[in-house]
């Protein structure tokens, strides 16, 4: 049984503490949604799980399947089955999507890697996601729209078949049709492979397709409230501040804008 366990995690970035004594457990087959105002540490959590060296673990532990991964390299974590679909996927000139994915898979599969099977599967997934067929021969995310970049993240998820999927605002930049395709693709992946999932989103619309088992509100570097899908509805209706039993002590710039707008 695949399991992510985070214990008492404190993380700093540029000497600022973002996560404080943070705890979370995600088991195989669970879909967790993390919500909260901007700049509160949601993306930080995914980056630190993935091993971004800019995020410093001051204390606490991250385990995946009982293996302590605090000091594990980024690529080792990925090969353990951890995947991060990024909020702002990088554009990398010259490295084609096909070469990139072929490298990633041939490292995982070693002598079992079959080029023909790879091409066939890639073509099928490109079609499923309604992506342009020539995109696999273009540089990674080069000239892609915001929506195409997000679809490309889902394509990579399908090709790499992770057992822990983290998707950071995968719904941002998607039009209605693309959101439907991406949302349904995530849910189909879940049904087929039964991974643990951690989704970060600001909106309910993604959750029309991907039904969470757990919903968390993060504030002041830790989870302040956990519930089921009904909590999402409550957030939509009341906003974060009213729901939080604790006072929200740090609000990102966008959150402040939203607050003024509402008033």
């Amino acid at each position: 049984m695949n399991k992510l366990l985070i214990e008492n995690l404190t993380v700093t970035v540029d000497n600022k503490t973002i996560l404080k004594d943070f705890n979370l457990t995600i088991n195989e087959g669970e879909i967790h949604v993390l919500m909260g105002v901007n700049g509160i540490g949601k993306s930080t959590l995914t980056k630190v799980i993935m091993g971004d060296p800019n995020y410093i673990i001051e204390s606490g532990n991250i385990y995946y399947n009982d293996t302590l991964i605090n000091n594990m390299s980024i690529d080792e974590r990925s090969r353990l089955g951890i995947f991060l679909g990024m909020q702002l996927p990088m554009e990398i000139e010259g490295v084609t999507n096909a070469d990139f994915l072929r490298s990633a898979l041939s490292i995982r599969q070693k002598e079992n890697f079959k080029l023909f099977d790879f091409i066939k599967e890639l073509d099928n997934n490109v079609e499923m996601l309604d992506m342009k067929s020539d995109m696999i021969h273009r540089g990674i995310n080069q000239g892609f729209s915001g929506g195409e970049r997000k679809k490309n993240e889902i394509l990579q998820m399908y090709m790499l078949k992770p057992s822990l999927v983290m998707l950071d605002e995968i719904d941002s930049g998607l039009d209605v049709d693309s959101l439907k395709i991406v949302g349904e693709s995530i849910m189909n992946y879940y049904k087929e492979y039964n991974p643990g999932m951690l989704l970060i989103t600001h909106y309910q619309r993604l959750l029309d397709y991907v039904k969470p088992t757990h919903v968390h509100i993060i504030s002041d570097g830790k989870i302040v409230k956990t519930g089921d899908y009904s909590l999402v509805k409550e957030i939509e209706e009341k906003g974060f501040q009213e729901i939080n039993s604790k006072k929200v002590t740090s609000i990102g710039v966008c959150a402040i804008k939203e607050k003024f707008k509402n008033e």
């Binding site: 800019n54 690529d75 990925s78 990024m86 490295v95 490298s103 990633a104 790499l160």
Partner: protein, 266 residues
């Protein structure tokens, strides 16, 4: 395919059509410099392969006549030397250059004269530097509506060091020109490479841009590739391959670049 091969002082020609006139002057004639003069009279492709021997001195003069298009592919290998290329482009002519070199060290000068209206040069150069390489470009827009796109990519390894000095000139009475320079060096050494992009533009009606970058690949790029399970060395190799092969569509040059990538980043 028209092909010129220069090995040290020896010039070899293969399948050169009558559309390309070639004259060769051995160094005994011109102060110790081997000189190749080329005149292209009709649309052509030309491959030039150069193998430098110790301190080779070599000049190329390449003229493209009115209305003619030349696709030129240059691969340079071998020791060290001084090489000069002079390109003369007449009205409505067009030269598209793909060039790769992997040599011990080189001092190179490129002079392009866009003599006739609507003349255009697209220059796409890649190098892997093991020792000092100096490149000095002079691009003269001597006629209206001329276009120059100069793109230089270099990777420094071992004792590598690259200096790009790129100067583009547009006089005051020349209008409607497009002048672009794009110079990038990935420096994997502690040596100090330099880029000096110069735009000497006296005309008010010109579209011009230049970009210069010296550095390593970004942490974000490495993180993205590694987050898909690709180890650091393979990620670096992928990035270098992308950097050196982007915009190159000549198979021979791609093969040569890939051969070098396998050699240095196996």
């Amino acid at each position: 395919m028209n092909k010129i091969k220069v090995v040290g002082d020896i010039l070899e020609l293969a399948n050169v059509s009558k559309n390309i006139h070639i004259e060769y002057y051995r160094k005994e004639c011109i102060f110790g410099i081997n000189e190749v003069k080329i005149v292209v009279t009709k649309d052509s492709n030309l491959d030039i392969e150069i193998k430098l021997k110790e301190d080779t001195k070599l000049n190329f003069s390449i003229s493209v006549l009115e209305g003619v298009k030349l696709d030129l592919n240059i691969i340079t290998k071998g020791d060290s030397g001084k090489v000069q290329y002079k390109y003369n482009l007449e009205k409505d002519s067009n030269i598209n250059i793909f060039k790769f070199q992997n040599i011990k060290s080189i001092k190179e000068m490129v002079i392009a004269r866009l003599n006739g209206e609507n003349a255009r040069i697209d220059y796409n150069f890649k190098t892997v530097s093991n020792k000092k390489e100096t490149y000095d470009y002079h691009i003269f827009h001597d006629a209206k509506n001329t276009i120059s796109n100069i793109k230089n990519n270099g990777v420094c390894i071992k004792d590598g060091l690259i200096i790009y000095q790129v100067s583009s000139f547009v006089p005051s009475d020349i209008t409607g020109c497009v002048v672009n320079q794009n110079n990038r060096i990935i420096n994997l050494t502690n040596n100090k490479s330099e880029i000096m992009p110069n735009l000497y533009i006296d005309s008010h009606d010109v579209e011009a841009s230049h970009s210069a970058l010296i550095g390593k690949f970004s942490d974000e790029e490495m993180f993205y590739l590694q987050s898909r399970g690709i180890d650091y060395n393979t990620a670096l190799k992928l990035l270098i391959s992308g950097f050196l092969t982007s915009d190159i569509n000549n198979k021979k040059i791609l093969k040569e670049i890939n051969k070098n990538i396998e050699k240095y980043w196996r």
